[in-house]
């Protein structure tokens, strides 16, 4: 805190040049919040958002990388943070409160986080891409630090002393000279201070963190454990109806005819048809179900590719290869000329489902032409815009709220349930709740892209990479670039019009691309007879990636421990979204049954300065368990526009019995900015398992999932 601090004039409560209309908004703003201190990023945002008329400027759209939030300190010392980010289990409600608590020296309990409410929080593009910790975290730190400086300036003025002699603790400013103290509320005295975020305000360095950087428990942990927390699917409004949608028998089917009369005849049922959308709202879910069944309907179906032909379809329908991430360096031909060993391989990756435990859900209410929807989405503002467009409403008349939701993993960027509930509520003129069934979630959500990836690589006798050609069909650009040093490279991404609806996923395409890179690296090491880890390190410059490989290997006992018979060790790693991961895995393959069991894993992870070690551990843990499912057995089966395994009984997800002993090593780099951690730790596990199976059996698998049916029948040839 020794750095030179900017000084605020406490009497200059707002920026003077923003007069007139702004003053009116300002009054309304503080009327709603009570007096105190508010720090905003862009003044206009706070005003516009609080406006109840259509005449105020609509909130400025931020770019995906740009974030806004604001913070208010009330006279009761209660701090309220307003952010458009949402909580889906990453525990950012806790970690963001921690960074604010740190700068204001307040107990975590006095910070209230208002999240993902389009009427109260500034525009936010969405909670994805691991952007919260690297962008929202620092902005909130600056906002909190700005507020702290205001309080210190007020106290300095009151006591007529230099603010640098004052200290701050537990919501009070202390005067060490006189032993006087005043709470934040006593200092603001009901007056209103509105400040834009100061860019050059001093921040507490990570090395001096007391609240941030510690394992503060989940702030609403007790509510969750007692069943009190209301997820969207738990919420009720008086007189509410239960909605249900009639689903087409296959994707892309169109409606030929529909007769809703039998459904409409049921007591209390409202049945709606708008184009191809047919749905009902009923006093209870059982009646809704009955009403849907009573609708007579005929569909026109269209033939579509099935899973059996998926990978040839991707190749045949690929674009020219100029997709995002495509790059070229040197010449593959020259690189191959210097290689002594060449390896050409083709890998496939199936579609997988996010399968969040809480399926999509929404509760919609219309009141005097205003629409309010509670829904579990990673992009509440985008859903608001979709709703406004669908119903021809100005944005101000639509409000989307996102209570902490039963997980997403990149699978809830959209607002299907919100739109459905709102349509039904409009027709029924009553609030409508709608929760997708598990089968609907498995069918009508979107999937992690499937992909075909072809690699052609060259290496010299001493284990130096010379050429690397990488052709990616449909699986996406994230993690597509090899982190290894290769003088001659060609990387091409060929987008395809995917047979299934596809979208974001934890770690995006890097789960596919890094699986392939790390599998190919292992096979190249095998080809030149080198230890797979030594081969990687020989071709790797990036110090942060080297550090996690070395840490994981050390923790695992790579090189010192030897696998038992029918066991194998494997390693895999990579970098994604500012996080660096390496995982070592031990697998056991039962020679009789062919069953593959992951025995233990060691993952080293580094994402800059750690904000909450326990919750970071939990994110890494979650990524490993989820990654293990995609590695071993998860795959969406489909044929002719139908999902063939839309149940947990058929779509296998990791359970207790599948979970290995998991060791996690965090490399806390207090000297580096914090990056997000919800995604990157997933990338190492699949290749580590694959490479361990190769060591145990000699079989070098080339598809994800690796062993959906175990290895029976594959082992005989050894």
């Amino acid at each position: 805190m020794e750095e030179k601090t900017p000084t605020f004039d406490p009497n200059q409560g707002t920026e003077q040049h923003r007069a007139g209309k702004t003053d009116k908004s300002r009054r309304r703003f503080f009327k709603l919040l009570g007096g105190g201190i508010a720090v905003t990023f862009v003044l206009q945002d706070a005003f516009a958002l609080l406006s109840d008329s259509g005449s105020a400027p609509s909130p400025r759209k931020a770019f995906a990388d740009e974030v806004d939030a604001w913070l208010h300190i009330g006279e009761n010392n209660k701090v309220t943070v307003y952010t458009g980010k949402v909580e889906v289990g990453q525990n950012i409600r806790t970690s963001l409160a921690q960074v604010v608590a740190e700068e204001l020296q307040l107990p975590i309990g006095s910070i209230d986080m208002v999240m993902g409410d389009t009427a109260l929080t500034p525009y936010d593009a969405g909670t994805f891409g691991s952007r919260t910790t690297p962008s929202m975290g620092p902005q909130l730190r600056r906002a909190a630090a700005t507020a702290r400086e205001i309080v210190l300036d007020l106290a300095a003025k009151e006591w007529n002393t230099d603010k640098h002699t004052l200290s701050i603790s537990n919501g009070q400013v202390l005067h060490p000279g006189t032993n006087e103290s005043k709470t934040f509320g006593e200092l603001t005295k009901g007056k209103e201070f509105l400040k834009p975020l100061a860019g050059d305000v001093p921040l507490t360095p990570a090395s001096a963190w007391k609240v941030a950087g510690t394992s503060v428990p989940k702030v609403n942990g007790e509510e969750i454990l007692t069943g009190k927390h209301k997820y969207v699917s738990d919420m009720k409004l008086p007189g509410m109806l239960y909605g249900k949608v009639l689903r087409a028998p296959s994707f892309k089917a169109s409606l030929k005819s529909a007769d809703l009369s039998a459904a409409k005849a049921l007591p209390g049922v409202v049945a709606v048809q708008e184009g191809d959308f047919i749905g009902v709202a009923a006093p209870d879910p059982q009646t809704a179900e009955k009403a849907i069944k009573a609708i007579k309907v005929q569909w026109q179906e269209v033939p579509q590719p099935s899973r059996a032909e998926l990978f040839s379809f991707l190749k045949e329908n690929a674009s020219g290869g100029g997709g995002r991430g495509s790059t070229r360096k040197g010449s593959i031909e020259r690189g191959m000329n210097t290689a002594t060993q060449k390896l050409k391989s083709s890998y496939t990756v199936d579609y997988i489902a996010h399968a969040p435990m809480e399926p999509r859900a929404a509760l919609a209410q219309w009141e005097n032409g205003h629409l309010t929807v509670w829904t579990g989405t990673q992009r509440p503002f985008a859903v608001r815009d979709d709703l406004a467009r669908a119903f021809g409403l100005p944005q101000e008349k639509v409000r989307v709220l996102m209570p902490d939701t039963g997980s997403a993993y990149g699978g809830k960027h959209t607002g299907e349930a919100a739109l459905e509930a709102a349509r039904l509520a409009k027709a029924a003129q009553k609030s409508v709740t709608l929760t997708w069934t598990r089968e609907e979630e498995f069918t009508w959500a979107y999937f992690r892209p499937a992909g075909l990836i072809e690699v052609y690589s060259g290496v010299t006798e001493d284990g130096t990479l010379t050429a690397w050609e990488f052709q990616n069909y449909n699986s996406g650009a994230s993690g597509i670039h090899t982190p290894y040093v290769v003088p001659h490279q060609q990387i091409q991404h060929h987008p395809v019009d995917s047979p299934l609806r596809q979208g974001s996923y934890r770690g995006l395409a890097s789960t596919a691309n890094i699986f392939v890179i790390e599998s190919q690296m292992d096979d190249l090491a095998n080809l030149v007879g080198m230890d797979p880890l030594a081969f990687r390190l020989k071709n790797l410059d990036e110090p942060r990636l080297r550090a996690v490989f070395e840490a994981a290997a050390k923790g695992f006992g790579w090189g010192s421990a030897k696998p038992a018979p029918n066991h194998g060790f494997g390693v895999g790693g990579g970098t994604e979204k500012g996080g660096f991961t390496a995982t070592c895995a031990e697998v056991a393959v039962d020679p009789g049954s062919g069953e593959v069991k992951v025995v233990r894993t060691t993952t080293a992870f580094e994402c800059g300065a750690v904000v909450n070690p326990a919750h970071l551990d939990n994110q890494i843990l979650g990524a490993i368990v989820q990654g293990l499912g995609g590695a071993l057995f998860e795959a969406v089966d489909f044929g002719n526009g139908k999902i063939l395994n839309p149940h947990f009984a058929q779509y296998r997800v990791p359970r207790f019995k599948d979970t290995p002993a998991i060791e996690i090593i965090q490399l806390d780099r207090k000297d580096l900015p914090s990056a997000g951690a919800g995604e990157a730790p997933i990338v190492g596990i699949a290749p580590a398992i694959r490479n361990a199976i190769a060591q145990a059996t000699g079989i070098r698998l080339k598809s994800l999932p690796l062993v959906p049916k175990g290895m029976k029948g594959m082992l005989g040839s050894r």
């Binding site: 989940k218 969750i224 454990l225 069943g227 699917s233 435990m357 902490d404 598990r438 947990f648 207790f656």
Partner: protein
Amino acid sequence: MELRINGKKRTVTADAKTPLLYVLRDELDMTGTKYGCGEGQCGACTVLLGDAAVRSCQIPASAAQGKEITTIEGLAQDGKLHPVQQAYLNEDVFQCGYCASGMVMSTVALLRAKPKPTEEEIIGFMNGNVCRCGTYPRILAAIKEAAKA
């Protein structure tokens, strides 16, 4: 129909065939018990019938008549968390928390049947409960802690 839930008599009007899960959630607004699949495959809806863990999405409400039903809302007594809840809280187990109620109810049933389970017994008993966020190792630690208490 009359049901005994968390020590209280409750009269419900739902059809006798309606699964207990929907009676709890929709008619009685006891939403701590969650829907995860409706097919007996995930354990999110676990409640106790007597001392046994049951998937409330799989049993008709009528089958719960005459038995003591315990849900997540009935575990804490006089504002004090049940030792299993406390152990989960101490371990700071959850991410999204959607699986929490089913996990806790299954654990209570496990420890009533087997106060000192081995790790293998815990894993075997809990295998029907899915946590998609992958918190299994922490749940295991919490169960071990609760078994010590």
